[in-house]
């Protein structure tokens, strides 16, 4: 009997083509209409959680550096926060104020130059050694040591000296008042407390006080953590272990969740957010985050050295439209770089959308026919929101006579051009870490700011305000200070704040206890499964 090849092969061809068509249809992208917070399922519920089980997390980036002080990326810090903790931590997503973690309590001297912390009893590192004040001193000194190249080094500039008073007491002596010290001490991973003398081994043999200890890792593939039985908080952690599987490719990540190969994914691409929420077989949560994107200008280069030109650009852009496109309608436009969920209320208005005024300002500055420029989104393609925003900005600038072009650079090349060599016109980038207004302001806009790579020359009044902002403790006064500061910054427009990006996390329906912190902290001690796994 002869097999009829013709029909067989034609059918095969048909199958291939129709599968291709299905694949294309199955991925229709809805434009989101929900901004702010929403959730489906019980991902954040704290009730009905059983002890045990191993959570498999599809994670967006591979761990680069196990050393908490030198780890550079947000993703590294997220992973390491389960292994290492610091003196303080944020209380909860709804109340993100620093409370004690390793420290039990603290007090400030009257002149505000001395902070004394009482350490909690009974805290041990993963290898069993008890934690003492000497470990704290060692850790802070290591962060401040220029040879370490620690990520949080500049945050500890006002700390002059750290002194061991006794095994349970440690004293910080400051060169000037620094009200945000407890906030700085909670920075995940980068302000971690490690055992005294462990600087040489912490990159290969992690040893912290966090709820999970390091089990094993396969470079660029996965990271395994297991429960630390000696963790100081009672009844926590709930999970036996966590398995982080690196899936940098967005579709692979979503697919792994949908096919139950992972229990949770940390970063749902915004384009897929709607489909994840309408999927009844998954739990999901969307939350307001501290992530704000901006359009930055090179203040040291013509024509951006003229304030009229910067203001013109600010008036030329319509941030509502940019937000709609960049975040698929899920984010919100912002008026300042201060994180919207910040406990300190900062009010200031960015320059409004007024293309007529933009043209007038350009003419006034001597550019009636506009000029050419390039805009470089950062991240090397890792942040599609910024790439989309840049495209919209190009269109909007064209309408006032400015011809701009998007320049796509690799992440390292972007850093080289923009930060190291300052050889750029404009960029689109974002800030995440920094719920406190100081975090998104001081370093970038003061004369001596460690990362003032736009070359902005602030008026003396602004330097003064931002110094006072990190000295004063009263939240209301700080709100007034930063509002006034941002009035100045918005008028000078060295950067133009654009929009806030929400966080979206999705998981299997039996995952509970997730805390959606605005700075994307991944604290897994409360996470567990409803029903045994």
């Amino acid at each position: 009997m002869r097999v009829n090849w013709n029909i067989g092969l034609s059918l095969a061809a048909l199958l291939v083509v129709s599968t291709m068509a299905l694949a294309a249809c199955g991925r229709s992208v809805d434009k989101g209409t929900e901004t702010g917070e929403r959730s489906s399922g019980d991902l954040t519920s704290m009730s009905g959680i059983e002890s045990g089980g191993t959570l498999r997390v599809g994670f967006s980036e591979a761990l680069v550096d196990l050393d908490p002080h030198t780890s550079q990326s947000l993703q590294d810090a997220q992973l390491l926060e389960n292994i290492y903790r610091g003196l303080t931590r944020l209380k909860s997503p709804d109340d993100p104020e620093p409370v004690g973690d390793i420290a039990e309590s603290w007090e400030v001297s009257d002149d505000e130059l001395t902070w004394t912390f009482q350490l909690r009893d009974g805290i041990t590192f993963h290898d069993g050694t008890p934690l003492t004040a000497a470990d704290v001193k060692y850790s802070i000194d290591r962060i401040k040591d220029p040879k370490t190249v620690a990520t949080a080094a500049s945050d500890f500039d006002p700390v002059k000296k750290v002194e061991v008073v006794d095994a349970r007491t440690i004293r910080f002596e400051l060169s000037k008042p620094y009200s945000i010290l407890p906030y700085v001490l909670q920075i995940p991973a980068w302000s971690a407390i490690i055992p005294k003398g462990s600087g040489g081994t912490v990159g290969t043999k992690p040893n912290g006080t966090g709820p999970f200890e390091f089990d094993s890792q396969v470079r660029n593939t996965s990271l395994s953590l297991k429960r630390f039985d000696g963790y100081w908080e009672p009844n926590l952690p709930r999970l036996d272990g966590i398995e982080f599987i690196y899936l940098p490719e967005e579709n692979a990540r979503i697919n792994a969740l949908r096919s139950d190969q992972v229990d949770m994914i940390d970063a749902v691409p915004l384009a897929q957010a709607s489909s994840v929420f309408s999927d009844d077989s998954l739990s999901a949560i969307q939350f307001e985050s501290s992530w704000v994107d901006e359009l930055g200008l090179n203040n040291e280069r013509k024509p951006f050295d003229q304030v009229e030109v910067r203001q013109a650009i600010a008036h030329a852009i319509n941030r509502k439209d940019i937000t709609e496109v960049a975040t698929f309608g899920l984010g919100e436009p912002v008026e300042t770089m201060v994180a919207p969920p910040s406990p300190i209320k900062v009010e200031s208005d960015a320059l409004d959308y007024d293309p007529e005024k933009a043209r007038r300002l350009l003419a006034q500055a001597g550019y009636p026919d506009g000029f050419d420029m390039t805009i470089a989104p950062c991240g090397g393609g890792a942040f599609p929101e910024m790439d989309r925003a840049a495209q919209v900005i190009v269109d909007q600038l064209k309408k006032v006579g400015i011809n701009s072009e998007v320049e796509n650079l690799e992440a390292g090349v972007w850093a080289d051009k923009v930060i190291t060599k300052r050889d750029y016109d404009a960029f689109v980038c974002g800030l995440i870490n920094g719920l406190d207004p100081d975090g998104h302001t001081y370093r970038y806009f003061t004369t001596d700011g460690a990362f003032n790579f736009s070359g902005y020359k602030p008026p003396a009044k602004l330097d003064e305000l931002l110094e006072r902002g990190r000295e004063v403790a009263d939240p209301e006064e700080r709100g007034r200070i930063y509002s006034e500061a941002w009035d100045i910054i918005n008028k000078d427009a060295p950067w133009i704040p654009l929009y806030n990006v929400p966080g979206v996390v999705a998981a299997q329906p039996d995952v509970r206890g997730y805390q959606p912190f605005p700075e994307f902290n991944l604290r897994y001690e409360t996470v567990g499964f409803a029903g045994s796994r």
Binding site: N6, V16, T201, G203, R219, P248, A252, G412, V413, A415
Partner: protein
Amino acid sequence: MIGLIVRRVLGAAATLLVLSIILFLMIQALPGSPATSMLGQRATPELVAQVNADFGLDQPILQQYLHWLGGVVQGDFGYSLATAGRGGSLSEIPVSEIIVDGLKVTVPLAFLGMLLAVLIGLPLGVIAAMRRGQPSDASLSAMAMLGISMPDFFIGFLLIFVFSSTLGLLPSVVPADLFASPLESLRALTLPILSIGLINAAAVARMTRTSLLETIALDYVTLARARGAPESVVVLKHALRNAFVPILTVMGLQLGYLLGGVVVIEQLFGLPGLGRELLIAVGDRDYPTVQALVLTMATGFILVNLIVDLIYIRLDPAIKGTQ
């Protein structure tokens, strides 16, 4: 034979040496440096200079190259800059470890992928040649064309969509330790191997068909047919053995290319093979790792082609014999 092998090995060594020099210069010519990749938004000029000095990158290029070459001659490929000691922390990973880990994934993947390609492509190519001109041949040729034109990424994604997302039959996530449970690993590697196999099957099928048709047209085959040999014997015994030479060449080239690591497939399935490691290393400007990875891939390519040439020589007497 021995003389040939010795000559080829010496030639390979010379090629690799020249390649290493070109690579060394090219990588450092790329904009950015390990420091800027590492520091990102913190890449102030002072920090960048400090970190690059720590890595010995402020020394003259010739000195750096000779230092590297000296190490290689003793079997030391240096340490990965992406995780090199910072702040006194000994998180250095030797480059050789990265290479070995990458080979453990890419070599099985390449060989199994190629095996599948041959198992599918060779018979299909033979059938297409035997039914030359008929509709079945046209369909097969069209599908082969489709296979060759489709990008790896697309086939991989398609397979994930069908077998993993929709049917839930096969995993798309690969277990961390491939050698811990070989059976589980094989199941997890099915989709990547299938992706590679299907695309390369198309190339093998086309080459088989073309080469076979050319051989069949030759006089000695017509003679065999005239002598009354059945068609299958004509094709399989007489024509195929001789047509095999160019097919083997294509297979060798494909395998050599695959040993370079199918970057796209590895990235899609999260497989820590040579290709993916290279992608990461270039992004990090991890000079010693990039250098060693590319040289490893080049060595693999040279080795495979050397073997193909040796097999070619063994087949040669068979050709001489029948003519």
